[in-house]
Every structure is written in structure tokens, then in C-alpha cells.
């Protein structure tokens, strides 16, 4: 009898199987890591080679925005005469630009800078209007300040005039409704001729009518307008000796303008002391409820707390962070305050997210070349991070991007 010593095939023990599986898993993980590293190296190499071929600012090279770096100039909208105001639609597809020269229109552009259309306040000729700031609310309604007539005109997205605020608590529709003792039918055109103290209206199918209007409150000289996150309208007022900031609640703006009687809050006083302002151009608020006022003739930004109490000022002085003639301001979602310095011909950016405002950087320079400014006045940032800057004396709107 022989004994067969045939070895049975090696049967992996349970522990051996696990080791093989573990090794395989490690190989795969390692391969993935290598592939990932290779991909990163390729990306870095690509960016580096791209930079060497055409040096550009970091934000433009990297796929995601990096904080605390200035934006890059992209291109310009042309075909505007002395642009002084710029704002965009909520869907980021339209840009509205107010002109101070030429025909003095509000022009509508698409994102590429193609002119879509233009409009102007009803019943006015170029010499009868002096358009400045513009803002668009969440409903795509366009608000435009006409400095000449002391009015905040209201248009729909296509430029049809809907109404206008001609005194702190008087709208065109309210005044005309009271005059005709009835509601205004849809399609009624409304306008204002301040030098001759006339309100214009034209009912559908009828001839234009004029009504004498004596402002009930002469302390009314709006200049800059912005919307806050709640849709409240913040506007500056440069009535002599009464320079200040007003806030119209969103509820009043979204209600019937024929019964317009807002509860307006206001703050600030005229002067150059703490908490005082002189020719404020723009005012806006941050996520904490603080207010920032572009204090034009005092060459600074004045900050107020949520309860309108004076907090501090900044941007005053020499050096990179010093403002010459601050005009339009804009706060981005990182709480970086962009200030257009009209005479300095730059945009100065301050970080106001912390306990104290910190200067970050400037961008732009005096001149007429790409990325240079000649009396920039207003600024607007859309939801994609694009900056639009009204470059008045270069007759263009510059587009920058982070």
C-alpha cells in the first residue's frame, strides 16, 4: 500500500485572500493617486506654460477666484457718451448705462457689449435731463437719478417709463391720480419737467397733458442709488446744508406707487467732522447692516453702524489707500468694498469683513489704454463676478473680472 503524498492544490487561506485583495486595492489607490498627481502636474505645467506664453494675473489663470487679488481687465463697452452710471439686470444678461453727454440716454447692452436698445425719461430732450446713477431691483425695474430734474425715474426692463419719485413721498402717478381724481389706466405715460414745474402725463389714446407741480418739500436732491440685500432703496441727498442718506423700504417700492407714502429712514449730516458727509455720491450696506457712504468732497468713506450711529471713516490720506474723489462704490460677496476714485483714476478696494476696514489693493491707472481710466465714476458687479466701471472721459464702460 502506497501512500499518495500528492499535494492538494494550494488553497488560499482566508487570510491570504484578504492580503491579495488588500494589495490589489493598494495598487489601485496608488494608481489613482499617481494619476491625480499627474493631472495636477499637467494642470500646473499647462498654467505655467500658459503664463510664460502670455503672462496674466493669477485670478485669470486659476480656475477659481482667489481672494485679495485684483481683477483683470477683460474688454470695454463702447458707443456711450460720457457714461456716469452702470447697473445690471438680476439675470446678469443686461447692463444699463447712463450717459452724461451726447443724447444723454440710458443704453442697454448685453454681456458682450452689444447695444440692445436705449431709452430716456418721458417728455425730456437731452438738455432737459442730467442722468447719473442707475440701479436695478430684483424685479428688473430700472431706477435712474436725473440730477437736473431732481427725480428718481422708474422704468421697466425695456425702458418704458413706469413712474418717478419727484419728492420724498410724491410719485408721478400719485400726483396725477390725485389731480384727475382717479386711478391711472395701464399705458399712461408719465414725465417731469422740473425747470418749468410741470408734471406731464398722457393717458392712452389721448393728448399729453401738463399739470403745475410745486414740490411740497424742496429739501430733495437725490444723487446716488443702491439697493440693499432686502431690496430697500438707499439714496444719497445733496440738498444744501442737508447732505444725508435716505432709505426707502422695499415694501413701499413694491406697493402701489399711486399711494406712495414711504416711511423713510435717514442718517448723516453735512460737514467734514466725524459722522458728517459732503456731497455723498453713493451709500450701501453690508451683511451686518453697516452702512458705507462715499463721502465725495471729504475724500473718504464714512461708516455707520446698523443703528445709523457713526462708526469710523477710512480711505482718507496719502498713499495707495488714499481717496481723491470717491464716487461709485460696490460691495462684493466677500465684503470687499470697491471704491471708484474719479480723479485718482483708479478703483481702490478695502476689506470691510473684519473688525476694522483694511486696504487691499488698487486696480487701474490714469490713461486711455486698456485697463486705464479717465474719470471713472460708477461701478457695478454682477452675479458672475464681473465688474463694470463707467469710464466717463474715455467714453466706455470697462469690464473687469475676478
Amino acid at each position: 500500500m502506497t501512500t499518495s503524498n500528492v499535494e492538494s492544490p494550494a488553497v488560499p487561506t482566508p487570510s491570504g485572500v484578504e492580503e491579495e485583495q488588500e494589495d490589489e486595492r493598494k495598487r489601485r489607490v496608488l494608481l489613482l493617486i499617481l494619476l491625480f498627481l499627474l493631472l495636477i502636474c499637467c494642470c500646473v505645467a499647462f498654467l505655467f506654460l500658459r503664463y510664460l506664453a502670455k503672462p496674466q494675473p493669477l485670478p485669470q489663470l486659476l480656475p477659481v477666484p482667489i481672494s485679495n487679488y485684483p481683477p483683470a481687465y477683460k474688454f470695454s463697452f463702447v458707443g456711450v457718451d460720457g457714461p456716469v452710471g452702470v447697473a445690471g439686470s438680476p439675470d446678469n444678461q443686461r447692463v444699463y448705462v447712463t450717459e452724461s453727454e451726447g443724447q444723454r440716454l440710458i443704453k442697454i447692452f448685453d454681456r458682450s457689449g452689444n447695444l440692445i436698445g436705449s431709452f430716456s425719461p418721458f417728455g425730456t430732450r437731452p438738455g432737459d435731463r442730467e442722468l447719473f446713477d442707475v440701479a436695478v431691483d430684483a424685479s428688473s425695474r430700472v431706477f435712474v437719478v436725473d440730477r437736473y430734474n431732481n427725480v428718481i425715474d422708474l422704468f421697466d426692463a425695456n425702458g418704458d417709463q413706469l413712474d418717478g419719485i419727484i419728492a420724498p413721498n410724491v410719485t408721478l402717478s400719485k400726483f396725477v391720480s390725485q389731480h384727475i381724481s382717479g386711478s391711472l389706466p395701464a399705458g399712461t405715460k408719465l414725465g417731469y419737467d422740473a425747470p418749468n414745474h410741470l408734471v406731464l402725463y398722457q393717458l392712452p389714446g389721448q393728448a399729453e397733458q401738463k399739470i403745475k407741480f410745486t414740490p411740497p418739500d424742496t429739501n430733495w436732491a437725490p444723487l446716488g442709488i443702491r439697493f440693499d440685500q432686502q431690496g430697500d432703496l438707499i439714496y444719497t441727498d445733496i440738498t444744501p446744508d442737508l447732505h444725508r442718506v435716505h432709505i426707502i423700504p422695499a415694501a413701499d417700492l413694491n406697493g402701489s406707487w399711486a399711494t406712495f407714502n414711504p416711511t423713510i429712514r435717514e442718517f448723516g449730516s453735512q460737514g467734514n467732522g466725524n459722522g458728517q458727509i459732503s456731497f455723498p455720491y453713493d451709500a450701501l450696506t453690508d451683511s451686518k447692516g453697516n452702512f458705507y457712504v462715499s463721502d465725495g468732497d471729504n475724500s473718504r468713506i464714512v461708516m455707520f453702524g446698523p443703528n445709523f450711529s457713526y462708526t469710523t471713516f477710512f480711505g482718507f490720506g496719502s498713499g495707495d489707500d488714499g481717496l481723491n474723489l470717491p464716487r461709485g462704490i460696490w460691495l462684493d460677496d466677500k465684503e470687499h468694498l470697491h471704491v471708484v476714485d474719479a480723479v485718482g483714476a483708479v478703483v481702490r478696494v478695502y476689506d470691510v469683513s473684519g473688525t476694522a476696514p483694511q486696504f487691499l489693493y488698487n486696480f487701474g491707472a490714469p490713461g486711455a489704454a486698456d485697463g486705464q481710466f479717465n474719470y471713472p465714476i460708477d461701478i457695478y458687479m454682477d452675479g458672475t463676478g464681473r465688474l463694470y466701471i463707467a469710464d466717463r472721459d474715455n467714453n466706455r464702460v470697462q469690464v473687469w473680472s475676478y
Binding site: L47, A194, P195, G322, N324, A342, N374
Partner: protein
């Protein structure tokens, strides 16, 4: 690689940060109180020591004067909007308005009211009544319209300074019966040609800088100094305008020395614009009497004289040689200077203060002590005689236009401007006051137009209204409707 890349980027940003320009800033205008306690920050609102965008001693931080001025005076940073020619809001105190009303009349006294036109109009648009012949100035009860400027002083230097003809100046060519060379002198203007943004353009009786009406300069840039002076009254206007050529030794004395008929001279635009090389004084002497009893018109005149002509001379009563211009010497001795007979002529300029140092008293020549007020916009211009001051200011460039009421009947022998309407004299009360330049014209610009017949005959441009306040010749009808038999409706 990644570290290298970021190191490279950070390095580049660091370099960029180092190369960013440093700017000094703050405050608009200011400059009226340069005291040790006053803030000098205001200087930096317009000027840069090392990073200026304009030269020629201005060191402006902006690329153009007009652009810098209108960054505020477009309605956003000042109440006077020179772009559209309006007061955005009421700007004047009641006292100022009262004095202006006294000078200009009740309607002009409305200047400074919110929504009213700027007295000088605008550079892009103006608010005009246009055609109402009964109201040459703004009246809030009337319908007005704002229209583009069609005639004005071109001051926008954002692209290039454009020389413009200075109508009513220059020499007269008797052959062509036109201004020399067929055209008038030209000047390139900007805001600061007439205005001093520092607010110290005027001078008081002691020669000290003082604020002036609308911060207008003592004399416009380019006018080369004083050409025209006037008596406190209308005495000097008994004769007509200074001839641009020929001798005034006989019947047409110079307007400046008109009351001093014992002296005469042949004058070829002695120190006016554009004719400096044609001085040709042949008479023995001719007295120019300026600024009696104070020196306010004194130094600027000498400055212009020296700068324009390089004049040196000898004080006739002391034989002290003067020049090149020395304001200290002029101030000490400042009475009378005689041009040396180094050319073909002798010329005496008589400045006539009544006081002087004991060691160097004023001359005793009675002609030099004749009272002869020298009213200039910076010297004695105030709101109570604003109309007259503006007339003299304008006349420093448009020097052949200034005329008294007698110019209606007196031949100036200037064939181009032989007879002229009253265009500047001492203010007078009554129902028929003299008129001055600004009664009919806007300094900045006007939207009033002139059709073919009424177009400016000098410019020859159809529609050019010569910055008149009303269309065509409505300005004439404004005062003379009764004279010509018109019935106003």
C-alpha cells in the same frame, strides 16, 4: 513645480506692489486759508508733486483742466453745474443776492436760485428763454427750455486745446479794412483762463489777494494785461475807443489817457494781444493813468508790460532806471515810468498813487494826480458793481468793444468798429442805465441761435449768435421795442 509657480506669482505680485504709484490726496478746492493751522490737504485734491498728469507749473493730477473741474461741477460735487449751466440748488446768501439784485436788477438777482440758469450759461447746455423779448434773463414764471450750446467759449481741453478767434481784438488793417491778417488773434481757453480755483484771483486796494466774483481772475490768461481802464465816472468815455493804428495826437485821444489831452501818442496796440512787435510810439509823451490812490492795478499792469514788451525805463522825476520788472522797486517808487528813447519813441506810463516814500515822493505833475479810478474785476469788483466789473474783464481780450454811450455818435476812426453801442460804463441809476457785456451775452455759452441775417458778421457762421442770451436780435427788442415801433404781445 507648484511651489515654483506660486513663488513666481507671489514674486510678480510683490514686484507689482512695489511699482504701484504712491498718491497723496484729499479735499476739493480749499486753498483760501494757507495758514499754519490750516489744512494743506486741499492742495492734493488737484495737484501732485511727482505723479502729475499735466505740466506747465500746474502739476495737476488729472489729464485736463476741464475734466478735473467738471468732475465736481457737473452737478455731483458742487452746486454750480457748468456743464448744463444751472444752479442745482440755491447757492447764495440773501445778502449776496440782494447786492447782485442791486447791481443787475431784480431778475438777474435770481441767480443762485435752485434751478435757475448760471449767469454765464453752460458749456454743453443752457437754460434759455430764447425768444421772449420782454425778459432777457431767467424768469421762473416763464416757460424755459434747456438746449445744446450753439455758441460759446470752447474750454474743453480734454482732447486738445483749440485756439479760438478773439473777436474784437487785434490790429486793424486799413487796406483790407479788417483785422490784421484777415483774422483776429486767437487764444486757447480752458476753465482757468478766467477762473482761479484757489479763490484768490482778485486783489484788494493793498494789492493783497482776495476772493473775487465767481473766482474770476484779475485778468484773463492770454490777455497780456490791462488794455482798458476807466474813470470812476464816465469822463473818459467822452471819447471813443482807442484807435488801433494812427495817431491819437489830434482828435482821437486814447481812451486811457483821453482826459489828459495835453499828451498824445501814436499807438499801435501797445500792450494788447498779438501785436507786441508793432509798438511805435512817436509822440513825446503820453500819459496812462491807472489806479489812482492805490496800487491794486499796478503790479499786474507792470508785469504784463514787462512780459509783453520787455519794457525797461526811467522814472522821469528821479531818473532811476527800472526794469526788468521789479515789483519791489515798482512798489516803492511806483508812480511813473518813462520808456527810454532807445527805439523811435518815448513813452511815459503814469501810475498815480498819491502817497509815496518821503525820499521818493510822487510826481507833482497834475496830470498824474487826476483822480482816475481803475476798476477791475479783481480790484474793486464787488457785487454792487458787478456789471461794470464784468465789462472790463471781458474787454481785456475783446478790447475793441468797450465803449461808452457816446460811442453811438463818436467816430472811433477804427473803420471796423467805427460806431458802437454802449458796452460798458459806470453803473448809473435811472430808467436808462448803461448796458455792459453780460447784459446781452453769456460768458460760457448759449443755446440762443441766430439765423442768416442775424448771424455774427465777423465769424460769418450761419447760426452763430455770438453768445447772445436771446435768439436773433431779440436782445435789441428787449430794450428798444418802443424805439422801433414794435408792439410786444
Amino acid at each position: 513645480m507648484k511651489k515654483l509657480f506660486f513663488a513666481l506669482v507671489i514674486g510678480l505680485l510683490f514686484i507689482a506692489a512695489l511699482t504701484t504709484t504712491a498718491l497723496a490726496d484729499n479735499g476739493p478746492h480749499g486753498g483760501t486759508a494757507f495758514t499754519s493751522s490750516g489744512s494743506m490737504d486741499a492742495c492734493a485734491s488737484c495737484h501732485r508733486a511727482h505723479t502729475a498728469q499735466t505740466g506747465n507749473s500746474t502739476l495737476l493730477k488729472a489729464s485736463s483742466i476741464y475734466g478735473l473741474c467738471t468732475s465736481c461741477h457737473d452737478g455731483t460735487g458742487a452746486y454750480t453745474d457748468v456743464v448744463d449751466g444751472i444752479y442745482n440748488t440755491t447757492t447764495m446768501s440773501s445778502a449776496t443776492k440782494t447786492s447782485l439784485t442791486n447791481s443787475f436788477g431784480s431778475q438777474e438777482g435770481l441767480q443762485g436760485d435752485a434751478g435757475a440758469p448760471l449767469f454765464g450759461g453752460g458749456f454743453v447746455n443752457t437754460l434759455e428763454i430764447h425768444t421772449d423779448p420782454g425778459n432777457r434773463v431767467y424768469n421762473p414764471s416763464l416757460s424755459v427750455s434747456s438746449d445744446p450750446v450753439v455758441s460759446g467759449h470752447l474750454v474743453d481741453d480734454r482732447t486738445a486745446e483749440t485756439p479760438q478767434n478773439v473777436w474784437g481784438s487785434g490790429n486793424y488793417n486799413t487796406t483790407t479794412q479788417a483785422s490784421t491778417g484777415g483774422s483776429n488773434p486767437t487764444l486757447a481757453l480752458t476753465c482757468t483762463s478766467c477762473h482761479d480755483p484757489h479763490g484768490n484771483a482778485g486783489q484788494n486796494g493793498s494789492g493783497l489777494a482776495i476772493p473775487s466774483y465767481r473766482i474770476l481772475k484779475y485778468t484773463p490768461d492770454g490777455s497780456n494785461g490791462y488794455e482798458i481802464t476807466s474813470a470812476a465816472g464816465a469822463a473818459l468815455f467822452t471819447t471813443a475807443l482807442k484807435p488801433e493804428s494812427g495817431s491819437d495826437a489830434t482828435s482821437v485821444p486814447d481812451i486811457v489817457g483821453g482826459s489828459l489831452g495835453a499828451y498824445s501818442a501814436t499807438v499801435l496796440e501797445p500792450y494788447g494781444m498779438g501785436a507786441n512787435s508793432t509798438d511805435n510810439y512817436t509822440a513825446t509823451s503820453h500819459w496812462y493813468t491807472l489806479n489812482t490812490n492805490n496800487a491794486s492795478g499796478f503790479d499786474p499792469f507792470l508785469v504784463a508790460l514787462y512780459q509783453g514788451h520787455g519794457v525797461t525805463g526811467t522814472m522821469p522825476w528821479t531818473s532811476v532806471t527800472f526794469g526788468p520788472y521789479d515789483p519791489v522797486t515798482a512798489g516803492l517808487h511806483g508812480v511813473s515810468y518813462q520808456r527810454p528813447a532807445t527805439t523811435n519813441s518815448t513813452k511815459v506810463y503814469c501810475f498815480n498813487p498819491t502817497t509815496g516814500p518821503a525820499s521818493n515822493p510822487p510826481p507833482t505833475n497834475s496830470n498824474c494826480t487826476t483822480a482816475n479810478g481803475f476798476t477791475q474785476i479783481g480790484a474793486s469788483f464787488d457785487n454792487s458793481n458787478a456789471r461794470l466789473g464784468m465789462a472790463f474783464f471781458c474787454s481785456q481780450c475783446h478790447d475793441r468793444y468797450l465803449n461808452s454811450r457816446n460811442g453811438l455818435t463818436t467816430n472811433t476812426t477804427d473803420l471796423l468798429f467805427m460806431f458802437q453801442h454802449d458796452s460798458g460804463a459806470a453803473p448809473s441809476a435811472g430808467s436808462n442805465p448803461n448796458v455792459t457785456c453780460v447784459d446781452c451775452h453769456n460768458a460760457h455759452g448759449t443755446s440762443a441761435a441766430a439765423t442768416t441775417l442775424a448771424s455774427d458778421p465777423l465769424s460769418g457762421v450761419n447760426g452763430d449768435s455770438s453768445i447772445l442770451k436771446l435768439d436773433n436780435r431779440a436782445m435789441c427788442v428787449n430794450c428798444h421795442s418802443g424805439d422801433v415801433g414794435f408792439t410786444l404781445k
